[in-house]
């Protein structure tokens, strides 16, 4: 059975399910309780679970993320909301130096079953300081897991998996997608990490993406289909661990790939994807792997500039044609 729900509702459903199932699950964050959460993910949960399980914090990202790490090390399963991932830099020391590493430098004596979640990425004119896409930033650190669900079903399923995981999970929600709708399976639909989703099948070119850009790739695929090019669109949805197998198998079939990301090109996820492809599917490549990324600038405010700062359908289509050695259409 499945119902159509919004991404936001799907997230809440997962949280409620786990809060009900395990009394050790607590929520921590700014304005998640009385206010209901700035994105209404936790709306209504304060009344349902009380102030000691839905904890409104002061504006102290370092402090409360660190405290949540401590709670996790002490047997709770906290889900921390960062109001946006742009604020996580204030907690970066706790996340990187403690959450990611303490299991390792304690010789395996401790674990950190923690989820840090919040809206990631841009596209709504929030300007430079409120617009970051942090997949490669956090994906860089061994000890963290990083996921970025796109569909409402994945939002719920991957949240279930995240809460149940005994490691620190960086849960990057596509903020621009909170209102999108999709079928969400009822009950326990836990989606495992490390498995990509093939959003569209095709044999001519592989488009690899995650987050908000998956919809962009699907739109680009429709445009390319008008010219007889059938693109395969892969939604990575799990960045650390990353499903190499699915990507490589696709490129072995299509012989060409374009990696699309909102973030900046330098040292980004698309670069890693390109390296994996050339490493494991070198003899199947007909063209270099293209990367379509955000413009190498801090995010601008003006609407037209912001649109230009992020990948467009045109850019993805052009890249797809380039790897097929077709003239720009």
């Amino acid at each position: 059975m499945a119902e159509v729900k919004t991404y936001r509702e799907a997230l809440r459903e997962a949280l409620v399910g786990e809060l009900d199932r395990d009394e050790n699950v607590v929520l921590v964050g700014e304005d998640i309780g009385v206010y209901g959460g700035t994105h209404l993910i936790t709306d209504g949960l304060y009344d349902r679970y009380g102030p000691h399980r839905v904890i409104d914090t002061p504006i102290s990202e370092g402090g409360f993320v660190g405290a949540a790490i401590g709670m996790a090390m002490a047997g709770l399963r906290p889900v921390v909301e960062v109001m946006t991932w742009n604020f996580s830099f204030l907690a970066a020391d706790q996340i990187i130096q403690n959450a990611a590493k303490v299991r390792y430098f304690s010789g395996g004596q401790v674990k950190v079953p923690l989820v840090i979640r919040g809206p990631n990425g841009g596209g709504v004119q929030l300007s430079a300081q409120h617009t970051h896409s942090l997949e490669s930033f956090y994906g860089h650190f061994p000890g963290l897991k990083v996921v970025a669900p796109v569909t409402p079903n994945d939002a719920k399923g991957m949240m279930l998996t995240a809460v149940r995981d005994d490691n620190c999970v960086i849960f990057l929600e596509a903020g621009a997608l909170y209102g999108t709708k999709g079928e969400v399976a009822e009950g326990d639909n836990a989606v495992p990490f490390g498995r990509a989703r093939i959003a569209r099948e095709g044999g001519d070119v592989t488009l690899v993406s995650y987050g908000r850009q998956v919809a962009l790739c699907l739109a680009a695929a429709e445009r390319m289909a008008e010219d007889g090019i059938e693109a395969e669109v892969i939604d990575l949805r799990s960045l650390r661990p990353l499903d190499e197998e699915t990507v490589v198998a696709s490129v072995r079939k299509t012989h060409r790939a374009v990696a699309v990301q909102e973030q900046w090109r330098w040292f980004g996820v698309a670069s890693e994807v390109a390296a994996i492809i050339q490493d494991r599917a070198f003899d199947d490549l007909d063209a270099p792997v293209e990367r379509v990324s955000g413009a190498e600038v801090p995010a601008p405010y003006a609407h037209n500039l912001e649109i230009a700062a992020f990948p467009s359908v045109d850019q993805v289509v052009a890249a797809g044609r380039r790897v097929l050695y077709r003239e720009e259409g």
């Binding site: 003899d283 199947d284 050695y325």
Partner: protein, 478 residues
């Protein structure tokens, strides 16, 4: 205002190079005046004016490659003025030249051209009767210039999947043109090459249209597996010229016919004696201006001087009257017998071979054949043959006697089905009928025929007839 356009001077010609102007802008020209020299793959021809007037504008520059049908100059009727600046004209010519490639690329992309070109190829095969080195000017030229780009270290540029396919399928990348950036060979180029191999279509670059397929012989020229150059010390790489490439491909295809051979030794003492007497008579006749009744002048008006090869050619042609199957073409729809013997004569060129044709050789006299042979050979060596002069032969004679060759086998010239190889005259002892040792002059003839048309017995009987005629050479004068 009449435009002078690049003429189509051969079946498969798509473009020609304007190698030099013979007139200047502003010159007065009459109909028939030579305006320019146009270079095709095989030959250089003069372009004659079809209109009279003032050559008001030269559009193409020397060395420009211009597509067939595109303007290269303008002749204004007296009094008219030119309507564009020379610079623009040059640009138009360049754009025209470029657009040849561009147009074809576009066609290739849509995928429709492939079907159209295959059709065209088949039609050409039926019509052309081309033989000898075909002037596939555009294709060959493009093949030479846009062949696999070599990077500085001599490696062919190819995508990784192409290299893998090449390894797995034994494809030689040097024979494939790359349509990717900087001439990179990409997957579609290899796929196309494999398809061509399967369908029997000839190799062509991605930018050129199809040339004529070998006359529907249905045989498949398999891709050649040649190794990459070693680049070792002491070697020097010589990339193929247009001519070499075309001749090479033609030979590859010709070799597909199932050749079989027969050799015979001809006693030529009588022939030599007759030749000597006839040549004396011809010289005498020329000297006293009385005419010898042969109706032929030698080249440059001098006396005809018969060669052994003239006799051989005449004999071969005459013998074909009674063995018409050796005077046929292998076509897409069957064996086409020709009544007239159009004898192709092999002439060696610096980097290849050409076979000018002596039309109706069986009906012409020795001296006529001799004069024409000499004239054709001279023009062949200077690259001045017209296409109609080297296309359409029905039988080929190839003589290596001048090199002292004792015997050799030759490769048939499609679409014809037979070829005779003539060796040097040798003097050696032999037995006469009484069993005594006598000196004899002999030469060897080796006939090669396509076994799909001519079987061994027929081959041998034809050769016996040629021998008979040569050993009774008076029969060649009637």
């Amino acid at each position: 205002m009449p435009e002078v356009v690049m003429p189509k001077m051969g079946d498969a010609m798509e473009a020609g190079t304007l190698s030099s102007w013979l007139k200047h802008e502003g010159d007065q020209v009459e109909v028939g005046d030579a305006l320019a020299e146009i270079e095709t793959d095989k030959t250089t021809m003069e372009l004659e004016a079809e209109d009279a007037g003032v050559l008001t504008r030269l559009i193409a520059g020397e060395g420009d490659e211009v597509a067939v049908g595109e303007p290269i100059a303008v002749i204004s009727a007296d009094g008219e003025a030119p309507d564009a600046a020379p610079d623009e004209a040059r640009q138009v010519a360049e754009e025209t030249a470029d657009s040849v490639g561009g147009r074809e690329t576009a066609e290739t992309e849509t995928g429709e051209a492939e079907a159209a070109e295959t059709e065209a190829a088949e039609t050409e095969a039926a019509e052309s009767g081309e033989q000898g080195a075909r002037p596939r000017e555009a294709e060959a030229r493009r093949a030479a210039t846009s062949g696999p780009e070599r990077s500085a270290d001599g490696r062919v540029r190819a995508s990784p999947v192409v290299r893998r396919l090449a390894r797995e399928q034994g494809i030689e990348l040097a024979g494939i043109s790359g349509s990717g950036p900087d001439g990179r060979i990409v997957e579609r180029d290899v796929r196309a090459a494999l398809e061509r191999a399967e369908t029997g279509a000839p190799e062509r670059s991605a930018h050129a249209p199809a040339d004529a397929a070998p006359a529907g012989d249905g045989s498949t020229p398999a891709p050649v597996t040649a190794p990459a150059p070693s680049g070792a010390a002491g070697t020097e790489l010589s990339p193929l010229s247009r001519t070499q490439r075309v001749v090479g491909e033609r030979m590859q295809q010709a070799w597909q016919a199932p050749h079989h051979y027969a050799t015979v030794e001809v006693h030529v003492d009588e022939l030599l004696a007759l030749r000597g007497r006839l040549n004396e008579a011809l010289v005498d006749g020329a000297a006293d201006g009385s005419g010898d009744g042969s109706g032929a002048d030698g080249p440059a008006g001098g006396p005809v001087r018969l060669s052994i090869n003239d006799f051989v050619m005449k004999a071969c042609a005459q013998a074909l009257r009674t063995f018409p199957k050796l005077n046929s073409w292998w076509t897409a729809d069957g064996i086409e017998l020709h009544q007239r013997v159009d004898l192709a004569m092999a002439v060696a060129l610096e980097d290849g071979l050409i076979t000018p044709v002596i039309r109706n050789a069986a009906e012409r006299t020795l001296s006529a054949i001799s004069a024409e042979a000499k004239e054709l050979a001279a023009r062949a060596r200077s690259g001045k043959l017209r296409p109609d002069e080297y296309q359409g032969g029905t039988f080929t004679v190839s003589n290596m006697g001048m090199y002292g060759v004792e015997s050799f086998t030759a490769i048939i010239n499609p679409p014809s089905v037979s070829i005779v190889a003539v060796s040097a005259v040798a003097r050696r002892p032999d037995f006469d009928a009484a069993g005594d040792v006598v000196p004899r002059s002999v030469l060897k003839l080796t006939v090669g025929s396509d076994h799909r048309v001519v079987n061994g017995a027929e081959n041998a009987r034809y050769l016996a007839e040629v021998k008979r005629l040569l050993e009774h050479p008076l029969l060649l004068t009637v």
